[in-house]
């Protein structure tokens, strides 16, 4: 029982990170049709922001805040310099653009900072544990879960209760109509990128707190999983991205925990096989968007 409780917490913790990254991808995709593979590099940039802040002597909380801010700034910079010029282009061209931006950023990280991982040492007191029944639960996974749910709740509030959020949801439905109604589309798109950068920055904080280092490839693998989540959830569906993020996280942790040793090398294949089966069952995703893009 304790084992299942602990693995459940692990699954929610990992799923929360995937959900935030998937939501960041989905927000941008729903408005401008861009599957932003540079999203992982925005997360990595946030991680380097934390590393450099600590290296320059900032206290840990300030460093984490700077890391989140760095991710937001990077997301806005990419929107302005790379993606705005491609607005309205075919989805494949946008995809290739995002790959190009991602590669450029990776090379800059490798040559400008380091090709090897750099350590991020946060206070040991942040890595404590507490007991629930017979289970020993880590502080970092717990904080990760709280931060992930807090972020998702905050974003939901922004999208549903603020004028900007409503404009973003409207843009997801029909960007041209939004323009005709006099809303500044560039501003809405920029806010969407800023929000996706914010989520990538928060994911970077959780990721580096759990993993202890940042390297040029740090964001690539979680964003790959997050992309799978956006497809599984239904391309363009914000709720679907969050749900599928948690599903992917749970599948990864549970297959790691309970697959027999002889089958463990096939873990990723099994998880992806289950995703394919789910998409065959629901081709538009688990929670399709209103203007669904078939996955």
């Amino acid at each position: 029982m304790d084992l299942i409780l602990q693995q459940t917490i692990n699954a929610i913790s990992l799923g929360g990170v995937y959900a935030m990254l998937a939501l960041g991808l989905a927000i941008v995709f729903s408005i401008v049709g861009l599957i932003n593979f540079a999203h992982g590099d925005i997360m990595t940039f946030g991680g380097y922001g934390i590393f450099l802040s600590l290296a320059f002597g900032f206290p840990p909380v300030a460093a984490l805040t700077i890391g989140i801010g760095a991710a937001v700034v990077m997301a806005l910079a990419l929107e302005r310099t790379a993606f705005r010029a491609m607005r309205g282009a075919d989805v494949v061209i946008l995809l290739i653009t995002s790959f190009a931006v991602s590669e450029i950023l990776k090379v800059l990280f490798q040559n400008g900072i380091s090709a090897r991982p750099v350590p991020i040492s946060l206070p040991a007191s942040w890595s404590g544990t507490y007991q629930i029944g017979g289970a020993t639960i880590g502080v970092v996974p717990t904080v990760s879960i709280l931060v992930a749910f807090g972020s998702l709740a905050g974003l939901t509030w922004v999208l549903r209760r603020t004028a900007t959020g409503m404009a973003m949801r409207a843009a997801a439905q029909d960007l041209e109509m939004l323009r005709l109604l006099g809303v500044r589309a560039n501003r809405v798109v920029a806010v969407a990128f800023a929000l996706s950068g914010l989520l990538a920055g928060i994911a970077a904080v959780i990721w580096t707190a759990q993993r202890g280092s940042v390297d040029p490839m740090m964001g690539f693998f979680p964003v790959l999983k997050a992309f799978i989540a956006t497809v599984l959830g239904g391309l363009g569906s914000l709720g679907g991205a969050v749900l599928a993020g948690f599903v992917i996280g749970a599948l990864e942790v549970m297959t790691q925990a309970f697959l027999p040793d002889s089958l463990s090398p096939y873990r990723d294949a099994i998880v992806l096989g289950l995703v394919i089966a789910a998409l065959l069952w629901r081709p538009d995703g688990l929670l399709p968007a209103a203007n669904a893009n078939r996955s």
């Binding site: 090897r116 991982p117 040492s121 880590g138 996974p141 759990q210 925990a257 090398p265």
Partner: protein
Amino acid sequence: MTLRKLFLSTTAASLALTAAAASAEEYVIGVMSAQSGYLAPYDGPAYAGFQFCIDEKNANGGLNGTLPVRTIVKDTRSDIAEGVKVVQEMLDEGAQFIVSSADADPTIAAAQITMADGIPTMTFAGTAPVLTQVGEHVFGSYPADNQQGAVLAQYARDQGFERVYLVKSPDSAYTLGGPEYFGAAFEALGGTIVGTSNYSLNQPDFSAIVTTIKAADPQPDVIVTWAWEPDFPAFIKALRGAGVTTQVMGGDVLDTPTVRGLGEVVSGVVHTSGGFPEEGSAYADFIARFTAAKGFAPDNNYYASGCDIANMIEQAVAAAGSTDPRAVAAAMAGIENGTAIMSNFTFKGTDRMPLRDVVVARITADGQKEFVLRAQADPATMPKP
């Protein structure tokens, strides 16, 4: 008349230059060096150390004071297909020796290309003993994983550890082989393997493995992994974050400033290493020379390992008495107690993974590396590749 004179003089000058070029013998070494990707952290320092010592030798006349070295260096981007391509290019440009990337897989791929001409091929720091199985022209330079595993297992048993949990990845020969060699030697010495977990390289999350370790019955008294960065930092953070304080041991890949910089979570972690710069040693002297020349101190063993490869090549060429590739390879394979910086090396009687000292070191609370012991693997307990 003038034209004829010009033609004759030009022809004569060309012939003279050609003859001079042919007589100015040089030894051409091709170097695969990943400037990006997962091998860059190892190839980069190893190449820096290698080139530094080649430059030193060239300043003194070349190998053995008589044979200048020309290096051809090409980036592989940590991509095996790109590695194969650049090795072929370097052979086309006259390479007589290939120094390959610091892992078994790219070295095996390179060795397939160099096999036809018997060009000696030596890995920067690949330690999986299977890499030399390609052919008699392939050499390791670092103490092999089975040597490291045997020495570390002996140390663990000497400390009274009886039950080990192995964390390994089938995605690379290094991350799979290291823990398995340790386990085999540990069992041969009377220890028990109480559990095993597999992970994928660049696995996002280790919490599930940590929870499985916590639930193991009986509990291990030592956990062993050959995980490298960024997997090891993620693993140790998850392990200590879950309140598991069991002793952790690992391979030489933990001997990096990144791992030592992780803070309290790595305090007490024990790992193997290829060398240790004890005061007054050749290794310490190398660090002093390198620092004086380059303006920064080498912060890991790969610099010294790169320099040692230059030393190995020099001794093989001297023993061969020629630069013929097959003669150099045969001479290398016959070296016994050759001189190097990290430790002396012996290829004679081995399958071309050198028999060398293995150092066991411990990471201290203040992020430093502490010498524990230096030993050679006991052939009686060293697992076979």
